[in-house]
Amino acid sequence: MLKDITLGQFFPGKSILHKADPRMKIILTLLYIVAVFMSSSIVSYIVTVAFTVILAVISRISVRVILKGLKPLLFIMLFTAFFNIFWTKGESEPLFAYGIIKIYKEGIIFAVLMIVRVACVLTGSSVILTYTTSPIALTDGLERLLSPLKKIKLPVHEFSMMMTIALRFIPTLIEETDKIMNAQKARGADFSSGGLIKRTKALLPVLIPLFASSFRRAGELATAMECRCYRGDKGRTRMTQLKYKPVDLLLLLIMVAYGAGVVLSNIYLGNLIVL
């Protein structure tokens, strides 16, 4: 049962976004987030929403998955919106006033836009990056993108190796936790009743063997890696070479066009509907 877990939020597929180079996708995500936060007029918001919807459609990730991804942040979005409604002061007459509580038109608009903005950033960055890129490709892309930082002695390779090994061992450790829990249950351990403190205490006999075995695993893995001539990234080559393809250039152009659209609509169409 625990074996079926998906690592990260990756959904395999064959869309352009799946095929694009992970390095490019990281750059695109950054550009996208900047552009979304630059949106300040109604027109640019419309452009942003439209663009995000287009991205979601071409990624062929189902609507259900995307909505599910938004759910955990729903509370935070509503919370910020709530404060924006009550705390924003407008210049015109309040729409609603009861004692010290005054609600202005600006507050409502601001709160709605806030929700739209957060929802866009979340949806856009997940369809560009996390839903369409396998964790391993993501780590790989990040390592190569940051590799110039090796010159200033930043352990980029080591960091990505750690990530790779962590990803590799997550299923192994989950399986092991399952085994240990079953072994403890067979000896009468009870993990599912009692209060929070009691349950946490019950987990202790699971965590200790798990830690002990992780250290043993780490030792053995280190020896095995040494036997396979691992010595950091000294003289190391890679089997899979990342190459930018026409698709990547196309996506970059689209992203730049979108960014330009946001900026231009901010400047020239910003007064169309004043916020």
């Binding site: 074996k3 690592l7 790779t164 590799r168 893995l221 036997c227 396979r228 001539c229 010595r231 089997m239």
Partner: protein, 296 residues
């Protein structure tokens, strides 16, 4: 005479005690003055019970551990020389690959083919060449169809074969299997054992197979029994296993076939040849004896 591929000369090894002190204390030796020669292309099984020093011996060969005393030669070159550079050490590790007991703890990457590529990548091999080696190595161990799988979707035997492929891709001349079949179920054990035998027979790779499974040792050309850090028996499987008395004193079980024949012989059936190891031939021999008994 051709010079031996691997040669150990008076090799001793002891671990240093963990306690910090002005004088490094040595714990009782694990290996005591071992002298050993291994021919290129041979298939050697190393037997011994737990704590006999057999795994330590393996780790000395690719310099994961360094002998306390004595010299080790690889292809006539002294690899225990003080002037060995880091690069020289990696040359030795490339030539002598090692496969360990727990398949889970030797796979590094989340995709099978990426893992097989790990060794050649560390050696700085050209990407196109790595690709070729990975494909060939996976084909050799019969795991090509799983190359895009993640290790946790594989069975123990399959994981161990991937680990072997990872070593083959470095083009080693010798592979040391450190109890590589011990954690597997009978099916996985057979898969791995067949792979090992094939590597030796078809690819000419020298194999050192550390095990405590007697049936596996039978498939080797030569069996070395280590007990208390010393070589106590060395010879062909037939020679070694016929020495039932001595095997028992070092705490090893004799294969069931041999044990049965040995017991029969000691009961007075003189015509029994207990050095016979092939089960079918044994059955025939026993059938003959029973027939002749009836006749009497």
């Amino acid at each position: 005479m051709e010079k031996p591929f691997i040669k150990l000369e008076d090799v001793s090894f002891s671990y240093e005690s963990g306690e910090e002190g002005p004088v490094k204390m040595l714990l009782p030796p694990i290996l005591k003055r071992i002298n050993l020669e291994i021919a290129r292309g041979s298939f050697v099984a190393i037997l011994g019970h737990n704590g006999s020093g057999k795994s330590t011996l393996a780790k000395l060969l690719n310099l994961i551990l360094f002998p306390t005393e004595g010299k080790i030669y690889l292809d006539g070159k002294d690899i225990t020389d003080e002037n060995m550079t880091e690069d020289d050490v990696y040359v030795v590790r490339r030539k002598i690959g090692m496969v360990f007991q727990n398949p889970d703890n030797q796979l590094v990457a989340t995709v099978v083919e990426e893992d097989v590529a790990f060794g050649p990548e560390n050696l700085g091999v050209e990407p196109a060449e790595i690709r070729r080696r990975v494909d060939r190595a996976l084909e050799t161990v019969g795991m090509s169809e799983f190359k895009k799988h993640s290790p946790h979707q594989l069975s123990g035997g399959q994981k161990q074969r991937v680990a072997i492929a990872g070593i083959i891709a470095m083009l080693p001349e010798c592979i040391v299997f450190d109890e590589s079949t011990a954690m597997l179920d009978p099916k996985g054990r057979k898969e791995v054992m067949d792979t090992i035998v094939r590597l030796n027979r078809e690819k000419g790779i020298t194999v050192l197979h550390i095990t405590h499974n007697m049936e596996e040792a039978f498939r080797a050309d030569r069996v070395i029994v280590i007990s208390d850090g010393e070589i106590s028996l060395d010879g062909t499987p037939r020679e070694v296993f016929s020495n039932v008395g001595k095997l028992r004193t070092v705490g090893l079980d004799v294969p069931q076939v041999t044990e049965l024949l040995y017991e029969l012989k000691s009961m007075g059936y003189d015509e029994v040849d207990y050095t016979e190891t092939d089960e079918e031939k044994c059955a025939e021999m026993l059938a003959e004896i029973i027939k002749s008994q009836k006749g009497r």
